[in-house]
């Protein structure tokens, strides 16, 4: 089983610090970065893949520095960008063929592989259509197809569900479930429902730092008893900026009962996400203080 390890990874853009010594580890299965916009999710993914140079720290695959592995690392990597660039004049087939060839796939396997991945993302009927005629969701699915083509060991998806409709999101999850037994999958998102039922390990990021890093059930254990549902008529009793809404409920994070009729709620990944933003100290054992 391969292990992708990130140690004290830091990145600065001029004076602005984007990553502050991030340390985490990814193994086979679905690993997710969860955090708000600007938390550093894309930066860490770019540094892990080598799209941008890191300022400090190490990224290793089975103990080997990935930046020294060069071609061997890239051969094992599939990356889907947040805004995947395309050639609008190419057909879906041409686009995938180019990437298959650049990935070094043997020519005799390419046609079957293109058909396979397009079928997986439900684009088989559009194989000869020009990309310029694709909708946003179709482009996103084509980007996913490009990423998983050639069955790389490490799959990195940056905001993969952007532009996908609910059905396509579920389909994306199914693809991830199929691949998780043999790949290290890293997904960055700020949409909890993308990963809530499938992820094996969760890294919550905020302002370039890791706020929490564990299996989702363990992280939920940290916040059990801290999540409160607030009745509508008691909402004005607490500052609104401490409230978040989930489905029909208004919730807050607190070590004590925040309002007279508030009731505790079984934590979800959504709660975990808001805990990461509202009360980062919870994961470092500071919630009781």
């Amino acid at each position: 089983m391969s292990v992708l390890r990130v140690e004290e990874l830091s990145k600065k853009y001029g004076r602005k610090v984007a990553l502050r010594g991030v340390t985490c580890e990814f193994t086979t299965g679905i690993n997710a970065f969860l955090g708000p916009n600007g938390a550093g999710k894309t930066t860490i993914m770019n540094c892990i893949s080598g799209v941008i140079p890191k300022t400090g720290g190490r990224v290793t695959l089975d103990g080997r520095d990935v930046f020294k592995m060069s071609e061997d690392y890239r051969r094992r990597l599939g990356y889907q960008f947040q805004a995947q660039p395309f050639y609008p004049s190419y057909t879906a087939h041409d686009f995938l063929e180019l990437f298959a060839l650049l990935k070094g796939m043997p020519k005799n396997l390419i046609e079957d592989e293109i058909k396979r991945v397009l079928e997986q993302v439900n684009l088989s009927e559009n194989i000869r259509d020009k990309i310029r005629s694709f909708s946003g969701g179709m482009k996103q699915r084509l980007a996913i197809a490009q990423t998983i083509m050639g069955s790389p060991e490490i799959l990195i998806f940056d905001e993969p569900s952007a532009g996908l409709d609910p059905f396509e999101r579920e389909q994306f999850k199914r693809i991830m479930m199929e691949l998780k037994s043999r790949c290290i999958i890293i997904i960055s998102t700020h949409i909890v429902s993308d990963i809530d039922t499938i992820c094996d390990r969760l890294v919550v990021l905020n302002k370039g730092s890791v706020v929490a890093n564990d299996r989702p059930e363990n992280l939920c254990g940290h916040i059990r008893g801290l999540i409160w549902k607030i009745p509508r008529d008691e909402l004005e009793l607490i500052p609104l900026k401490q409230v978040y809404f989930e489905d029909t409920d208004a919730k807050t994070v607190s070590a004590e009962r925040p309002t007279p009729n508030a009731v505790t709620s079984e934590p979800t990944l959504n709660d975990l996400y808001f805990c990461g933003q509202l009360r980062q100290d919870i994961f470092t054992g500071g919630a009781d203080k």
Partner: protein, 409 residues
């Protein structure tokens, strides 16, 4: 390799579009400009054929041209005299009808004896062409005698002696070649082809259209990042792109050049490709013992190497500038530089100026040799080596830069 072939296949369509479009335009433009400058081909051929062979033919053409010019001048002077003697204050007089008719007949009439301006232009052109064909041999002989005289007088400068020796050898071959050519050639199109190809900007426009966005479009769109993460990597992708860019430029320029040459050959009634290149106006003293066809091949290789150098430079700048609009601006610099340098009066070594501006006329119309370490080296060879070195350095710089933008350096 498969990725390279795929990318090459994708580059065919834009290359064909640019090549066909610009070549058709250039051929039409060149032929139209020649036609308008030469007037009536039949009249030219009639005058040309009416002249005797050799020096007498040249003298007759010159005489006719001067005579017709004198007649034109005489009738115009007559009109001037009439105006000055009949003017009434500031009001100019009206010329008598018979004088107006005479002027029109003399200048624009249809008969040779009337001395029309059209005939005068034709004889002027013929005399200019026949000068090279008639006197090239004499001029070369005079020059070789000059070299012999210098050697006899005991010139001790080693380089001068070497160049004299080299030139005398070359000129001997030129004279031998010319001995076999007693034919007279209509060199109008050949002369103007050389003039056109030495200063035309259309091939530079082609290079610009094909290559200015070769890297900047990939960098701006973010595709370059995606290529970087494949097994081929940034350096592999960039090397494919550079080779394809060079091939695109070479194909474009070759088609462009030979289409123009073919148009010239088809337009010329005489077989100019086999005439000695010294028959071209301005090339009487060239030391190259080759015919016009060989000379065209020589300038093809010189221009091609220069084009490839510019292509490599454009691709490097496309990578440096990163975005499409800035690269469009920056890439104009190396393409416009040769034309600008040839028009700006700056003090430069003449050989250096010729090479920097790809002055194929200057590099070939006389003693085309450069003093390198005391030995005369063919200017075309030096030019060729220099531009290929710059092209290779530009391509290498682009590759190094592409590696620095990824981690696969």
């Amino acid at each position: 390799m498969n990725a390279f072939l795929f990318m090459l296949k994708k580059a065919i369509r834009p290359t064909v579009a640019v090549t066909v479009g610009l070549t058709c335009f250039a051929v039409l433009f060149m032929i139209a400009s020649f036609k308008s400058a030469y007037g009536d081909d039949k009249l030219y051929a009639a005058c040309f054929d009416s002249l005797d062979e050799g020096e007498e033919g040249y003298n007759a053409a010159r005489y006719n041209s001067e005579k017709l010019s004198a007649e034109d001048k005489e009738i115009l002077d007559k009109a001037d005299r009439y105006i000055s003697t009949h003017s009434n204050g500031s009001v100019p007089p009206i010329l008598p009808n018979e004088m107006v008719d005479e002027i029109f007949e003399t200048l624009f009439g249809d008969s040779e004896t009337a001395g029309s301006s059209q005939y005068q232009a034709v004889y002027g052109l013929i005399s200019k062409q026949l000068y090279s064909q008639t006197f090239s041999r004499e001029l070369i002989k005079e020059r070789t005698e000059g070299y012999s005289r210098n050697i006899r007088r005991g010139v001790t400068d080693e380089y001068s002696l070497k160049i004299a020796e080299l030139m005398m050898d070359d000129y001997e071959k030129v004279l031998e070649k010319e001995e076999n050519h007693r034919e007279r050639y209509d060199t109008r199109y050949a002369n103007n082809f050389i003039g056109f190809i030495s200063s035309e900007p259309i091939s530079y426009i082609g290079i610009f259209l094909l290559l200015f966005s070769s890297f900047s479009a990939e960098l701006q769109s973010g595709r370059y990042k995606a290529f970087k993460l494949t097994k081929t990597g940034a350096v592999g992708y960039s090397s494919y792109r550079i080779i394809i860019g060079i091939l695109q430029a070479a194909v474009f320029f070759s088609v462009y050049f030979f289409a123009l040459y073919t148009a010239v050959i088809l337009s010329s009634e005489t077989k100019i490709s086999s005439m000695p290149m010294q028959y071209l106006s301005g090339f009487e003293l060239s030391h190259l013992p080759i015919n016009f066809g060989g000379f065209v091949l020589r300038i093809y290789f010189m221009k091609l190497s220069f084009t490839l150098m510019l292509s490599a430079a454009v691709m490097l700048l496309s990578m440096v500038s990163r975005r499409i609009i800035p690269s469009a601006i920056v890439c104009l610099i190396p393409l416009a530089a040769p034309a600008a340098l040839s028009r700006i009066d700056i003090s430069l070594n003449e050989n250096l100026r010729q090479m920097m501006t790809c002055d194929i006329i200057g590099m070939n119309n006389d003693i085309g040799a450069i003093n390198i370490g005391g030995s005369p080296i063919d200017v075309a060879a030096v030019f060729f080596i220099a531009v290929i070195m710059i092209a290779v350095c530009s391509a290498a710089a682009a590759l190094i830069l592409s590696g620095r933008r990824g981690f696969d350096a």
